[in-house]
């Protein structure tokens, strides 16, 4: 067991100080918000920063959720508990609520942020498939301004993101003009309470097509879209639907680990996507 390293702890109050810290310490400065993954990394010796830059008190980073006509903006410091309680998130993005509610325990969700769940870049991050399937975009802020990209492009691989030196997350935007009709998140775990996903899938049926995003079955979460309307059509030939989902599942490249074997995961990718899709379609027809 590694001893807890003793990095310095900074708690800047404005973004300018954050940037100064990050410039000064470079890769050995570690920005964090909830810290629920960071503390585990420190304990296991996988993270050994010289300076921990706590973002929780930074006034220019939002703790809440802002809604306009086209976007729902989730501030960088928004905790998962706050996220799942928000009425607009609940009504427009129920699969994100389902996904966020599977992260850790209530205590963890009171502390952990949505942005942090994505920046941790675990292949099994619970909220990632939902963000991908809803076409969420992430906003990154640095001294040079703000840039945006799809969350799908932000996560590069296990523990790797497109975050550049000197950059932190400003917020995550979910489009309100996508015409989401039905969505659902499902996942498989070894036990029901507090566990990491063996397989996770989010299905979203919207104006543009049916989007299915997958977690824990590839180095990074990924999303695939059916624009032909086969998946969204409850009267489509079941064989055609199954063939399409099987084709989607072929993009998965699961590994065998303590949570499940490659073979089981590969089979469950199809089962979970069928179930998520079915629920999404059912929800679409509800008022």
């Amino acid at each position: 067991m590694a001893m807890l390293a003793e990095p310095r702890y900074h708690s800047p109050e404005v973004l300018d100080e954050v940037f100064t810290d990050l410039e000064h310490f470079g890769p050995s400065g570690l920005p964090f918000a909830g810290g629920t993954d960071v503390v585990v990394g420190l304990r296991k010796g996988k993270l050994a920063p010289r300076v921990m830059v706590d973002l929780k008190r930074v006034a220019d980073l939002a703790q809440g959720i802002e809604v306009n006509d086209t976007w729902l903006r989730i501030g960088a410091l928004t905790t998962l508990s706050r996220l799942v309680a928000h009425p607009d998130v609940r009504s427009h993005f129920p699969a994100l609520v389902e996904a966020a509610n599977t992260v850790g325990s209530i205590q963890i969700r009171n502390r952990a942020t949505l942005a942090g769940n994505i920046c941790n870049a675990s292949p099994a991050a619970d909220t990632a498939p939902a963000l991908l399937a809803y076409h969420a975009r992430i906003a990154l802020v640095s001294r040079h301004g703000i840039r945006q990209m799809p969350v799908a492009d932000f996560v590069l691989g296990p523990r790797r993101t497109a975050l550049r030196a000197g950059e932190v997350v400003n917020g995550i935007d979910l489009p309100l003009d996508g015409g989401v009709a039905g969505s659902s998140f499902t996942r498989l775990t070894r036990r029901r309470g507090v566990d990491l996903a063996t397989v996770s899938v989010c299905a979203v049926v919207d104006r543009r097509g049916t989007h299915i995003a997958y977690g824990a079955v590839a180095p990074r979460p990924f999303v695939l879209t059916d624009n032909a309307g086969v998946l969204a059509d409850p009267h489509a030939d079941p064989a055609a639907r199954k063939a399409l989902l099987t084709g989607f599942a072929a993009h998965a490249s699961p590994i065998s680990d303590l949570r499940g074997s490659r073979e089981y995961r590969q089979a469950m990718v199809i089962t979970c996507s069928e179930r998520a899709l079915q629920t999404a379609i059912t929800r679409r027809h509800r008022p």
Partner: protein
Amino acid sequence: MNSEIVGASVRRVGGQERVTGRYRFVGDLRLEGMLHVKLVGLDCAHARVDAVQADAARSLPGVHAVVTENDLPRPMPRFGPVHHDRPILTTGYTTYHGEPVAAVVAETEELAAHAAQLVRVDYTELPSVTTVAAALDPTSPLVQDPDRRSGALAFTNVLSESRFGWGDEPGAAELVVDEAYVFPMVTHFAIEPHTFLAAPDHDGVQVWSAVQHPFALQQVLAELLGLPLAKVRVHAPDPGGAFGGKQHAKFEPLLALIAQRLSRPVRLELSLEETFQAVRRTMFEIRLRSGFFRDGRFAFQDAECNALLGAYADIGPRVVSKSTYLMCGPYRVPSARIHVRALLSHTPPATAFRGFGTPQVVWALESQLDEAARRLGIDRLEIRLRNLAGPGEEFMRGGKPADGDWGISLRRAAEEVRWSEPLPSGRGRGVAVGIKASATTGASYAIVRLHVDGSATVLSGTSDMGQGARTVLAQIAGQELGVDVLRVRVVMGDTALVPFDLQTSASRSTVFMGSAVRAACQDIHRQLVEMAAATFQLSADQVSVTGGLVQLPSRKLSFAELLAEAFAGVGGEVIGIGSRRGEHVGTHPLGGPPAFYEFSATACEVAVDDETGELTILKHISVADVGRAINPAQVESQDEGAAIMGLGHTLMEHLLFDKRGAVRNLGALDYRIPTTKDLPLALQSLLTENGDGPGPYGAKGAGEGGLFAVAPAVASAVAEATGAVVRDLPLTPERIWRALQDTKDPSDA
């Protein structure tokens, strides 16, 4: 006076302190001038230690010592409850993952941990034995040095081997079922980490450890340190969960030697990961070849049991012999041949764990009965009832006859899950029973002091590790002395204060220590009669004690009234002494007959998701034959706790090892235990109380039974729901899914 203290669910003694965080566990203790110890281990199981380079660690300010084998007596002293095979610190080799090669002693816990990182161990990794097959393979490396073993098995990894049985050679059976069953290694996962403190004490030593057997630890320390028992004082604060994992000495001898050497108190707290590496349940592979008559009765039982112990014997050989003694369960089996091997391996020492080998044996036996029932087309409840021994029946040839009406509990369990009613598809029910031979030999002594105001102090060497022994002993004293439980103090956990008790294990405390406390109270009754006779100038036969009162020819007195009269102006108290002993019987295979059998029946209903293999337990019924529940709420909570613990090895728990013999799922993230969300949707414990136990008021022991039969009951329900039969635990979704793939007819695909 309330005469119904026994049988009432009085509030748990010490419960409020625990739920409010005020109870001081051993980990909360701090000693003046205390130093902290951190152990240094390797990340593989079996290795030759070439050199321990500790200069960097030793040179850190605040580091007092880095103790290696060179700092300890030669030859290295060894200890253990069955064989003296466990060294205080390993010599030359490590034999399981994490076995310490050095101990760093420093001013603070953090510094000790940091310095431990700086200790460089040069070592040569060696092949390790972590499976039954490897342990039986004559070409495998030997786990223990043959020079330290004796007999024909010294050059093998077989620690002990036995064959026993009864009856004639098997006659004509109409069905022979031949199957193999695996029960994995699991860890105790007590919430309280193992913590040890030791301090020099003039010409002796004091040790603090949340140990189940303080007197056994005292004995070990006295032998290793060459001290008289009276100079070794073991403090055993109530453990925060033990489950068998805190029975025997572990690092207390090392701590005591370091404390003596440095003349300072020292403290060691194991992390959860280190606890995983310190103790675990015995793993079993059992092959059963069972003959049945057409009506489902047993014709014979042939069993081949291989139990995988760890690198040191610990209490493992006793776990193996005691559990396989009941390899034929509570059933009438006319002919049996049982072959048992206890095997050494390069894994953490296997020790006692709630059930003491019984859940392992029950898993195989009950699953085998289900297989026979399926093949014979007999109802699974019916096949059990046809074989189950009746009250008083000598079901084990030459053994203690059945001491309960076990069919009552079995039928109750089945009725509660509506056994004979139809089920929707995808659902299944299971029922199974388990039986354990309880404590055999051993002594328990108790002292009860009746104070002048009628309140009482009980001195007992039992450990209250959550099972509620303090409450039960207070209830017994309260009942006998006519005093409210709130006016009884139970003193435990200090070998300098309380009289000898062999151990807190095998669900023995209510029967053995409870009887001792009751006997001590009856000793007080006798003294009170004499005292009353002398005080009031009566003859002894004119005085009696009943219902907590002294009955004189003319009136009744409370004990306090009598004492006030008798001790007027002088003061005093009445001290009662009681004991209960189970004597050694050399001819008995267990060293003596069990005081009682712990019998349990489990029934459940499950729903299986046939696409994912996930299972939901809709209803779980546990019935315990307890003789008499002295505190029904406590018995039920113990039984429910056991049932939930049983769901762990049934559904998700197993320690996994890599090729280097290292534990792959070391820690809470990858070793999963049930959470509240994993519990059955309905869970109920029922008690069968026939007053037929050997303990006070007809009580038997309880608290282990609830987990005996969980796994076979759930697996049986899964088989009914899906047709898939799983013979390896745990029943993970993936394992059930695989079994479902195997059962699916390829033509259906």
